[in-house]
């Protein structure tokens, strides 16, 4: 199991020693383990830090070390809990690519990934379960999940910052609605999932009646986030 943001091992050991120690708990012979550690350290770009004490590693480096710890035992099933939490773009990409290749390149390997990043789930997972308050609302391939709401229409709008949003949720024909604000730009980004295109005119007139300008309007293919909003009825918190 590897969790994002976790601290594991002992601060007085080096990154390489810490991973080796955990490999011993899984019965991996030292020689095999050390070979794998070196290989994985090269892949994850941690080779330069192999002899650094764990306490001296950055968050990203520590997470890479944790990932290597997960893979060094060559598990059949690996639990990844928010593995890219708080990581920079490059580190997150390295991890995502490695996990995807590892699970797809070999037979009999399973990764159970929990994540709040929908794009990550879309990119990495063969099957996705959407869980809300402990209940599985849907479980299928990303494509099938998206197909489930393809009968609906998703519209994204960028408008002047808008405060009164209550009317949108209750508007007839609006199945789901979410929004994000960009305070720096003084803009609001509205996402509507509609039963059909009928309510678009009403939405636009509601916005313009408030004296707000519509900067862009886009009809888009549903994303996993849309699927989530459609099922759960709210955006991510």
């Amino acid at each position: 199991m590897v969790s994002g943001g976790e601290t594991s091992g002992y601060g007085l050991l080096t990154a390489r020693e810490n991973i080796w120690m955990f490999s011993q708990f899984y019965g991996v012979p030292s020689k095999v383990s050390k070979g794998r550690i070196d290989e994985l350290m090269h892949i994850f770009g941690l080779w330069d830090k192999r002899n650094a004490k764990v306490r001296m590693l950055s968050t990203g480096q520590r997470q890479k070390m944790n990932m290597i710890r997960g893979f060094v035992t060559d598990p059949d099933i690996l639990f990844l809990d928010e593995p890219t939490l708080g990581l920079d773009v490059n580190a997150a990409r390295v991890i995502r690519e490695y996990v995807t290749n590892w699970v797809r390149g070999q037979k009999g390997k399973t990764v159970l990934l929990t994540t709040h990043y929908m794009a990550e789930a879309d990119q990495m997972c063969d099957r996705i379960a959407i869980i809300d308050k402990g209940k599985i609302l849907a479980c299928d391939t990303p494509e099938n999940l998206k197909r489930m709401i393809r009968t609906e229409t998703t519209f994204r709008l960028e408008v002047d910052a808008i405060r009164d949003l209550t009317t949108f949720s209750t508007m007839q024909g609006v199945k789901n609605f979410s929004h994000k604000d960009d305070i720096a730009k003084n803009r609001s980004f509205l996402t509507f999932i509609l039963e059909d295109e009928g309510p678009v005119a009403e939405i636009l007139s509601t916005i313009t009646l408030q004296g707000k300008k519509v900067h862009s309007l886009q009809k888009s293919e549903p994303t996993l986030e849309d699927v989530f909003i459609s099922m759960v009825g709210r955006g991510f918190e």
């Binding site: 601290t7 601060g11 007085l12 050991l13 306490r55 001296m56």
Partner: protein, 284 residues
């Protein structure tokens, strides 16, 4: 000033909660008493064994000397531990040091506040231990009313020195691994040996006596013993000085120690910041 006071107050509250809220109040009181009383009993048994095999007529003077010194030593062990472990526990255990350290408060005052609850508990434990000794073990205590002011002044000074030493150790532990127990046991041990706590300085070799005389706690134990157990006749090598002179020694050496402690703390903190060690974790 109000920021310092607020920091102190909040840290003292936090320290008290950390020390006591893990259990029921009565259990906490019992816990706070059992440890020091058991420590005193080790000495009682050492005395009993020695008397049984080597001195059948007993030596009540030596016993009283040792018992009173040991009772007041509870302050040393508790206050020192209460001070330096703030850094180690915040760093290694709760891992909150980075948030507290960067907040706009004096970390120095914060440590003092955290130690305050330990002092409160120590006062209680010292009183219980002394009372037990006087009631059941024949320790002869007598504090004259006229000596009370001097006793209070010396106690405050003694506690101030202990806080200063604790903070100095805190500065050192910024740079070291998690050695809480080595420190908790070892540093008080240093004072146990060199400050005439259990035995007079005359037992030590000359160089040991010189070390003892350079530490303010030696004078604190001497003056405290003279004031609350004046009938003890053990020769302490400080017999030639009257209590007021010893109080003066205590004041002078305390000032020196305080300055040294601030210096060491600052140096420790400076190097820890430079090496990025303020929030390191070093468990093994």
């Amino acid at each position: 000033m109000s920021t310092y006071w607020r920091t102190f107050k909040t840290a003292a509250w936090l320290g008290w909660e950390m020390d006591s809220n893990w259990t029921e109040p009565w259990l906490f009181v019992l816990y706070s008493v059992i440890k020091p009383v058991a420590g005193a009993f080790i000495l009682v048994l050492m005395y009993i064994v020695f008397v049984a095999i080597g001195r059948p007529q007993g030596d009540t003077d030596a016993f009283s000397y040792m018992y009173v010194g040991n009772s007041f030593f509870i302050f040393v062990a508790t206050v020192l531990f209460g001070t330096f472990q703030v850094i180690q526990s915040d760093r290694e255990w709760y891992q909150t040091i980075r948030y507290i350290y960067i907040s706009p408060i004096s970390y120095y005052v914060y440590i003092l506040g955290r130690a305050a609850s330990k002092i409160a508990v120590a006062v209680f434990a010292v009183a219980i231990t002394l009372l037990f000794g006087a009631m059941f073990l024949g320790v002869r205590l007598h504090l004259a009313l006229a000596d009370v002011p001097m006793f209070l002044v010396s106690t405050v000074l003694g506690l101030a020195v202990l806080l200063a030493i604790g903070i100095c150790l805190g500065g050192i532990s910024f740079l070291t691994a998690k050695h809480t127990h080595g420190l908790a046991e070892g540093i008080p041990g240093l004072f146990y040996v060199f400050c005439g706590v259990l035995f007079p300085l005359s037992i030590l070799p000359t160089w040991g006596q010189a070390i003892g005389r350079a530490i303010p706690l030696t004078y604190w134990f001497e003056i405290t013993r003279r004031l609350i157990a004046p009938t003890i006749t053990v020769n302490t090598t400080l017999a030639g000085f009257d209590p007021l002179t010893i109080l003066l020694f205590l004041i002078v050496s305390s000032v020196g120690f305080f300055a040294l402690s601030v210096l060491i703390y600052k140096v420790g903190e400076y190097f820890a910041r430079k090496a990025g060690k303020i929030d390191m974790t070093t468990s093994y």
